[in-house]
Structure formats: structure tokens, C-alpha cells
């Protein structure tokens, strides 16, 4: 089966020049992400997950190697609005209502008013926030704010969704619920998703492909293709298949640690 490669990293290297000398954040990253993949990046703190995601989004420039998105350079892809980016904090503007926040990228991209309104309503429904459009961010719970920021990233129909620990600050129950919703959303929209997490169960539950990274310098320790079906009820997490994949991820993480 041949699949379209959307994101292709080849021999990617990135070194930050800091006052305390160079920090080798990414070393020799080779990775293909196919259309419709749900790829999780997991690894200990400081191993370069955020940096890699930012490099895909052309928010950082690699020092060596290449990265292409939809066959373009990352910079060109960013300019053609190929992705929606969700940061760890919701980052909603406090002076805009939820609708206003979701409209922001649409205003910048020049959608007309009627289209904006229509899209806002559609994505609010996708993240189950219908009726909250006129609220200000501080009137919503943390989980709702995070959903609103996901809605904002979905509003302009980018094919790729990059998410950096979007549920990191939320409690387990809310997290489970949002994970379920995210999977449904992914199934419905067939987007390609890059997802950073610290949680093994979260990575296994969500992903079709799990990228285990190890630190100093940040590199890929293992890439695990999930054998789980695309349809995933929450209790799939108790099946032997799930536990086996989780085990492999844990092994990968441990191997990365033993290295230094």
C-alpha cells in the first residue's frame, strides 16, 4: 500500500546557540508521516519534542538536513497555511469572546464575514462548545478553553494539526473525554495529526504511529506502528494488544535513558 507522505524529515539536525554554549536539540531525525496518520511524540523532558514540532511548523530553522511538508519547505507550507498549531496553554485572547478567538485566524486569512460565522459554528460543534461562543475565555474551565483553542486551529481547515501537550494541564477524567473526542474528530476530518505527550497510555490510545525520543541530543529511539484498529473505545486500554504496545513504548523510553 503506498501512502502519501505529508511530512518528511531527512537527517534533520538542530543546534541552539545559547549563552552557555550550543545545545544540540535534534540529531539526525529521519521520519515520514503519512496522510491521515496520528503520530505521537513521547520522551523525557528536554528531548526535543517541542523543538521538532516547531520545526515542522517552521517556527524554528534546522541547522542541517531538510524537512518538507506537502512537498514544500516548511516555510512555504506555513505561508500556505498548511497547519493548525495548538500550544500547551490555550493562549486565547482575553479581550475576545470564544467566537472572536476562533475568528481571529479567519480574519487574518481574509475569510468573509458570513463564512467566518459559519465556520465558527461548525468547529464549536466539533469540540462540543455550541452555545459558548459569546463567553469570554475566563468564563470557561481550563478544559473548555483548551477545546476552544483546538476549535481555533480547526477553523481554517488545515490538513495538518500540530498539538504540543494540549491536555497536559488537565485532570485524567477530562483528559480521557477529550482524547475520545479528538479521536472522533480525527476520524471525521481525516486530518494528519502530530501530537506531543508525556503519557504512555495517551500516546498508545490515540496514535497510529508512536515516535519515542531520547534526550541529549534529541533523537528518535524507536518508531512503533500501532496495530490497534482505528475505532477505539476507551476500554481498549485494557486489552492485551494495547498493553503490549504500551510495554514497547516503555522499553523504548528506558533504552533511551540507559544511553546516558
Amino acid at each position: 500500500m503506498t501512502q502519501d507522505v505529508v511530512i518528511k524529515a531527512q537527517n534533520l539536525d538542530l543546534t541552539f546557540q545559547t549563552n552557555d554554549g550550543p545545545v544540540h536539540a535534534l540529531k539526525d531525525i529521519n521520519l515520514d508521516i503519512n496522510k491521515g496518520d496520528f503520530v505521537s511524540f513521547i520522551g523525557p523532558s528536554g528531548c526535543g519534542k517541542t523543538t521538532f514540532l516547531r520545526t515542522i511548523a517552521a517556527l524554528e530553522n534546522p541547522t542541517a538536513g531538510s524537512i518538507t511538508v506537502n512537498g514544500m519547505t516548511a516555510e512555504e507550507a506555513r505561508k500556505s497555511r498548511a497547519y493548525g498549531y495548538v500550544f500547551q496553554a490555550a493562549g486565547l485572547y482575553p479581550w475576545r469572546t470564544i467566537s472572536g478567538n476562533i475568528k481571529l485566524p479567519l480574519e487574518i486569512m481574509g475569510f468573509d464575514k458570513a463564512e467566518q460565522q459559519q465556520r465558527v459554528e461548525r468547529v464549536l460543534e466539533l469540540v462540543e462548545l455550541t452555545g459558548f461562543g459569546n463567553k469570554f475565555p475566563w468564563q470557561l474551565s481550563g478544559g473548555m478553553q483548551q477545546r476552544a483553542s483546538i476549535a481555533r486551529a480547526l477553523a481554517f481547515d488545515a490538513d495538518i494539526l500540530l498539538m504540543d501537550e494540549p491536555f497536559g494541564a488537565l485532570d485524567e477524567i477530562v483528559r480521557d473525554h477529550l482524547n475520545e473526542q479528538l479521536l472522533k474528530l480525527w476520524a471525521r476530518t481525516n486530518k494528519t495529526i502530530g501530537f506531543v505527550t508525556h503519557s504512555i497510555p495517551e500516546a498508545v490510545y490515540l496514535s497510529t504511529k508512536i515516535v519515542v525520543m531520547s534526550p541529549r541530543p534529541g533523537r528518535i529511539a524507536d518508531v512503533i506502528e500501532s496495530t490497534l484498529p482505528r475505532e477505539r473505545p476507551l476500554d481498549i486500554r485494557d486489552t492485551p494488544e494495547f498493553l503490549e504496545i504500551a510495554h514497547r513504548v516503555r522499553e523504548g523510553l528506558r533504552a533511551g535513558h540507559a544511553y546516558d
Binding site: 517556527l59 497555511r81 493548525g84 479581550w95 475576545r96 487574518i108 486569512m109 475565555p137
Partner: protein, 288 residues
């Protein structure tokens, strides 16, 4: 009601202290007069006299209140003895100076935030400008603007007023325009926003709380600037000119009434700005 009680208590204490001060400072003149006339005064007679002298060292509150009433409500507002007449002159200079200062402060802040060269070249001078005492350069500005042939007194007063008010706006707006964090700026980048979109959609609205904090200080500074600008030009009118006339002719009541008018004006201006702030920030969802 619970808030008003402590305020009233403080006001009450201040009025008591004021009366006590008036008694202490004016009684010397009363005793001198009595000595000269060779009469003995009881304490209550001394007290009554200190409260009603025509030219007291420190007028009692009710004297100021009466004089204030006479020179505002009971005078035609076109009269040169009316504080409303002079207050209007001061208000005009305050508002023009305030508007000019706010515009200059905001524009400079935008320049400094967007241009490294301006950041390095303008900001130090702006800071130095505020270390020069305004009373020292106010007369110079008046003389200079006269000698270049500028008619009237509004222009020099506006300049002095703007000179004082641009600075708080400048400092606050630099901070406000720089307040968006890296994540918010990065978000805009992922959407392909340009510089001007970043300014209008993120930096400017984000700076509003800073703007209003600064504008409250700026309006008070503008009033001070206008009054200081009026001091060297008693002929031009204005509350500052009234204070000067009062001190030249030994009329303390006049000075105190003008002071009261200036304080009232400041309170009203700050209240107006505060109300605009509350309404704006509330509509922006940022009021607490």
C-alpha cells in the same frame, strides 16, 4: 456604605487637623493686634478671630469654602474674578496638552517597539527629559514661543502640558505593546499574519490595560503642566495665574480657592478617564 465610612472618617480627621493648624498659625497675628491695641483676649475670642481673619496665614476650611462659592457660583462666568472662567482656560490647555502628549507618547512607543534604532536613540532622551525640572523650563518655553511670534498663551501651555504627559504614556505603552508572549506571537506566525495584523490584532488591544493606567497619570500631569505654564503669565488667566496673583497681592484665600478648583478639576478628569477605562475594558472582557 461600608466603604464610605472610612473615607468620611479620614476627611473628618483632616478637617479637624486643618482647623487646628489654622488656629495655631493665625493666632500670632491675633495676639500681635491685641497687644498693639492693649487688650486682653480670652481663648474663645482668640479662636474666633483666627477663624475670620481677612488675610490669614492659613485660612480655615469654611473661609475657603465661602470664597470658593463666591468666585464660582455667585460670579458671572465671564468675569475675570470667576474661577469658572479661569478653570476653563486651564482646562483647555490641559486637554490639548493631554491629547498631544498621549499621541506623541503612543507613536514614540510604537516606533521604539518596532525599531531597535529608535529604542536605543529615543528612550534615553525621553528619560533625561523628565529629569529636567519643569518649573525651570516652563518660563523658557513661554519666552521662546513668544519670540518666534506665536500669539496667545495656549501653545506654550500645551507644550508644557504635553511635555509632562507624554512620558507615562510612552513608558506604559512600550510595556503594553511588548506584553504579548512568544506563544501568542508564534500563533500569529503559523497563521501567516503580517506585521500590521500583529499590531492591530494583538499588540494594540493587548496594551489597553497599560494604556489606561498611564492615561490616568497623564491627565493629572497635564493639569500640573498647564498650571505651571500659567504661573509666569499672570495676564493670561487660568488657575495658575490666579494662584500667582493671590500670592503677589497677599490674598491667601484666592490661592486656596484656586487650589481647591484645581483639585476639583483633577478629580473630575480622573473620574472621567476612569469611567472610560471601566467601560472599555468591560466591553473588551478584561475588567475584573
Amino acid at each position: 456604605m461600608r466603604n464610605i465610612l472610612p473615607i468620611l472618617a479620614v476627611v473628618f480627621a483632616m478637617i479637624i487637623a486643618w482647623y487646628a493648624g489654622a488656629f495655631m498659625m493665625n493666632k500670632k497675628w491675633t495676639y500681635d493686634q491685641a497687644n498693639r491695641a492693649g487688650v486682653e483676649l480670652t481663648l474663645s475670642e482668640v479662636f474666633a478671630d483666627t477663624m475670620a481673619q481677612p488675610r490669614p496665614v492659613l485660612p480655615a476650611p469654611h473661609q475657603v469654602a465661602v470664597n470658593f462659592w463666591e468666585t464660582t457660583v455667585e460670579k458671572k462666568i465671564t468675569s475675570r474674578r470667576s474661577l469658572v472662567f479661569h478653570g476653563w482656560i486651564t482646562l483647555k490647555a490641559t486637554l490639548t496638552g493631554f491629547i498631544l502628549g498621549t499621541i506623541i507618547g503612543t507613536l514614540l512607543a510604537v516606533g521604539i517597539v518596532y525599531s531597535r534604532v529608535m529604542d536605543m536613540s529615543i528612550l534615553p532622551w525621553a528619560i533625561i527629559s523628565q529629569t529636567v525640572p519643569i518649573v525651570a523650563i516652563a518660563p523658557m518655553i513661554v519666552v521662546l514661543s513668544n519670540s518666534v511670534g506665536i500669539e496667545g498663551h495656549l501653545v506654550p501651555k500645551t507644550i508644557i502640558s504635553a511635555y509632562l504627559s507624554f512620558f507615562p504614556v510612552l513608558v506604559s505603552m512600550i510595556k503594553g505593546l511588548r506584553s504579548p508572549d512568544r506563544m501568542q506571537l508564534d500563533l500569529l506566525r503559523t497563521w501567516g499574519a503580517g506585521k500590521s495584523q500583529t499590531f492591530w490584532k494583538l499588540r494594540l488591544p493587548g496594551s489597553m490595560p497599560f494604556f489606561f493606567a498611564a492615561v490616568k497619570i497623564a491627565i493629572a500631569a497635564s493639569l500640573v503642566g498647564a498650571i505651571v505654564g500659567e504661573l509666569p503669565m499672570s495676564g493670561s488667566g487660568g488657575l495658575g495665574a490666579r494662584m500667582l496673583v493671590g500670592s503677589q497681592y497677599g490674598e491667601p484665600l484666592l490661592i486656596w480657592s484656586a487650589l481647591a478648583a484645581a483639585a476639583l478639576l483633577a478629580a473630575v478628569l480622573i473620574f472621567i478617564v476612569g469611567t472610560i477605562q471601566t467601560i472599555t475594558l468591560k466591553r473588551m472582557g478584561m475588567a475584573q
